[in-house]
């Protein structure tokens, strides 16, 4: 049979499972297992943090201890033992003087991850590399930060948050936890206490950031919870586009990931935040995989400010994530474009919150959920219009596509309007992937999985077109890979 080679390739692709499941053998330094005041102090000390930061962490830890893990999301997982997790792990390396000193194994890891060649060149410091700045977070410590000098010329600060705490304490103090308060939710409080590293970006007044800023997150050490902290501040009239992409190595134990991302946009500023999330989703039988409990929120603080979230979520065993916009400034704009794919036993409960506080604020929500295998995929969204917010407009569109007959798609929209001038539109559809479409593609020469990938990519088009070019290509491939083995 002529198709044998191809069929074998497909089989090995399917059974080969998660393509990014490998472990890099770099010695890492860990905090003792479990969570206590000592561990919080250990992390703070490791980061050479000032006293105020330690105090802040300890308060957060105390608050967290009194909080309850939320259970309202449509996800279920075994109870997490918070004392059975390592909260800090760092590769044992001194600060690097130049990129040549980057561990070759680390560079090899990036290569395996399929980080675009251009960005590898950036990492390797090749002359004439394109202007994409990569702040690579390898486990918990930033080991390579590029283009910082060029950004500095533009006045843009782009560095690890640990460095920012030491070098720009006033800026960090001014904005940290102003969008996501310490006690906002259980996982956010936990993050405040133990966050290991993350990214800080400040774009000064009137500056258009000269390049896309990009961070690759990657969980590496076994049993290490990853607690990233990101803070992006766009001052008046500035613009920045930030890309976040992640993959994680294969593990049997479930790994906890509880990041906090805060964005602040002042008058006339714009932040575009794009994510491709591909943490290890667990195996075909639902064993292993990342628990991804993320709090992402933007404050459109200034008038006519704008924040746009675009996410492609294909990974994690359990996802709990609602990138939101608080539209405080008059005329501010919030956008949320999301693709969430679940396969096998994955569970995703994701969506957004658009809180309209200011007059003439507008928001757009486009959500595309694709469920396959035995997975559960929930869109949960809130559109809230406060009484003082006149002439608010919102448009919401939630589409669900079912690839198998054993999966679930759920849409849970909450709409709270306290001002009669608001115009709120909500559209939702759910459909099964069409046999006619599949057969049409197959009778034009596409294999079954290729056909599914094409139809799904078409279904997601409205979201994908909001991704920066280089990300869109990766994300399209990722959709296909994530749905491998889902048909039949």
């Amino acid at each position: 049979m002529a198709g044998t080679a191809e069929a074998q390739k497909q089989i090995s692709e399917i059974t080969g499972d998660y393509k990014y499941g490998f472990v890099t053998d770099i010695e890492s330094e860990r905090a003792p297992k479990g969570l206590s005041e000592e561990v919080v102090r250990f992390i703070s000390a490791k980061k050479n943090e000032p006293e105020w930061m330690l105090e802040w962490r300890l308060k957060a830890y105390a608050a967290w201890q009194k909080m309850e893990e939320p259970d309202w999301a449509r996800v279920s997982y075994p109870k997490i033992d918070y004392n059975d997790i390592y909260y800090y792990s760092a590769p044992k390396r001194k600060k690097l003087q130049s990129l040549d000193e980057v561990d070759p194994e680390l560079l090899a890891t990036y290569a395996k991850l399929g980080i675009p060649l251009e960005e590898q060149k950036v990492l390797a410091g090749v002359e004439g590399a394109p202007r994409v700045a990569v702040d690579a977070v390898f486990d918990s410590v930033s080991v390579a930060t590029t283009f910082r000098e060029e950004l500095k010329k533009a006045g843009v600060i782009f560095m690890s948050i640990s460095e920012a705490i030491r070098e720009y304490p006033d800026l960090v103090k001014k904005y940290l936890a102003t969008v996501v308060p310490v006690r906002d939710n259980y996982f956010a409080a936990l993050n405040c206490a133990v966050f290991s590293d993350g990214t800080f970006v400040y774009v000064p007044k009137g500056v258009r950031c000269p390049m896309e800023l990009s961070t690759y997150f990657r969980i590496n050490a076994e049993n290490t919870g990853q607690f990233e902290r990101t803070l992006i501040v766009a001052d008046e009239g500035s613009y920045v586009s930030y890309l976040e992409g992640c993959t994680a190595p294969m593990r049997d134990e479930n790994q906890l990931h509880a990041a906090v991302v805060e964005l602040v946009a002042l008058d006339d500023a714009e932040i575009k935040y794009s994510t491709v999330q591909n943490w290890y989703p667990g195996d075909k039988n639902g064993k292993g995989g990342i628990y991804n409990f993320v709090t992402k929120r933007a404050l459109c603080k200034g008038k006519n400010s704008k924040v746009s979230w675009t996410q492609v979520e294909t990974g994690s065993a359990v996802t709990w994530k609602y990138p939101s916009c608080v539209l405080q400034g008059e005329g501010s704009v919030g956008e949320f474009y999301s693709v969430a794919v679940t396969n096998n036993y994955q569970q995703a409960d994701t969506g957004t919150k658009m809180i309209h506080m200011g007059a003439n604020t507008r928001s757009t929500i486009i959500s595309k959920g694709i469920s396959a295998g035995k997975s559960q995929n929930t869109y949960r969204g809130l559109v809230k219009v406060l009484s003082g917010a006149d002439n608010v407009r919102n448009y919401t569109q939630c589409d669900s596509l079912l690839v198998s007959s054993e999966c679930g798609a759920h849409t849970v929209p909450y709409i709270e309007v306290r001002n009669p001038s608001a115009q709120i539109e909500h559209e939702a559809t759910t459909s099964k992937i069409s046999e006619d479409q599949l057969f049409y593609c197959r009778s034009r020469g596409l294999g079954e999985e290729e056909a599914v990938a094409m139809i799904v990519n078409g279904f997601c088009k409205e979201v994908m077109q909001h991704l920066p070019m280089e990300f869109a290509v990766e994300a399209q491939k990722l959709l296909g890979i994530s749905l491998e083995g889902s048909v039949g």
């Binding site: 002529a2 593609c441 094409m454 409205e462």
Partner: protein, 245 residues
């Protein structure tokens, strides 16, 4: 090229094709005519390998290969093409992207490299122009918002780009006005060569005025009851199926 022997096909447990034989040689154009429910579309779908069409008996060989052993996309790789009676809409996928993916999938099946973007664009532009398709249509989503005629024209462009050995065209003439019918017929005639074959499935004689068949078959209740030259189509048109059979 295509040899069908004693074919029986059931859909949802009901036998639709009840012992059909057909032999198509390179260079030939065959027309299968018959009323609704005679099993014409079932035959087309079975040749293309659609799920749910259960072959309960008989064989289909294509160039000496057992077609029934192959997946639908493998059949396309071997040189088969099915023109749809109701071409399907694929929102979000541009016609160009669809065509290019299809062509490259077929090329890969045949062990060829992907066609370069420039070469592909050149090919598509030539084929689209020959079928009088507005180049703007290539950028639109596959069949989305296309008129009936535009959809059928699009099928012909796909056929021209994939350049199959055997094209099975299921009611490609239905729902077309006379201008669209002529264009589609030109597309079919362009595909007609010594090394290719075409199987037309149709209700009406109309298309056969523009595409002259070598052999006409009359299909009734899952069987071919009569075969003849192109004059048989005219006879059918005059006398109706009952009298001819």
């Amino acid at each position: 090229m295509l040899t069908i022997k004693d074919l029986h096909v059931a859909v949802a447990g009901k036998e639709i094709i009840k012992g059909l034989d057909l032999e198509i040689r390179p260079g030939e154009v065959h027309a299968i005519m018959g009323l609704n429910g005679a099993g014409k579309s079932t035959l087309a779908n079975t040749i293309a390998g659609r799920d749910d069409y259960e072959v309960t008996n008989g064989t289909i060989e294509f160039e000496g290969k057992d077609l029934l052993e192959l997946e639908p996309h493998e059949r396309v790789g071997e040189g088969l093409f099915l023109g749809f009676q109701y071409p399907v809409e694929i929102p979000g996928v541009s016609n160009l992207n669809f065509l290019r993916t299809a062509l490259n999938s077929v090329r890969r099946y045949r062990g060829l490299e992907d066609m370069s973007a420039a070469e592909f664009m050149k090919l598509v532009k030539v084929k689209a122009a020959a079928l009088q398709m507005d180049p703007e249509m290539l950028k639109r989503f596959v069949n989305v918002g296309f008129s009936g005629g535009e959809k059928k024209r699009n099928e012909m462009v796909q056929m021209a780009v994939l350049n199959p050995k055997l094209a099975v065209l299921d009611e490609t003439d239905s729902g077309l006005d006379i201008d669209a019918l002529k264009t589609v017929a030109e597309g079919i005639n362009a595909q007609r060569r010594d090394d290719t074959a075409i199987l037309l499935i149709t209700h009406y004689q109309r298309l056969l005025s523009y595409v002259q068949p070598d052999v006409v078959h009359v299909m009734i209740d899952g069987r071919i009851v009569k075969s003849g030259g192109k004059e048989l189509a005219l006879e059918l048109e005059e006398k109706g199926y009952a009298d001819v059979a």
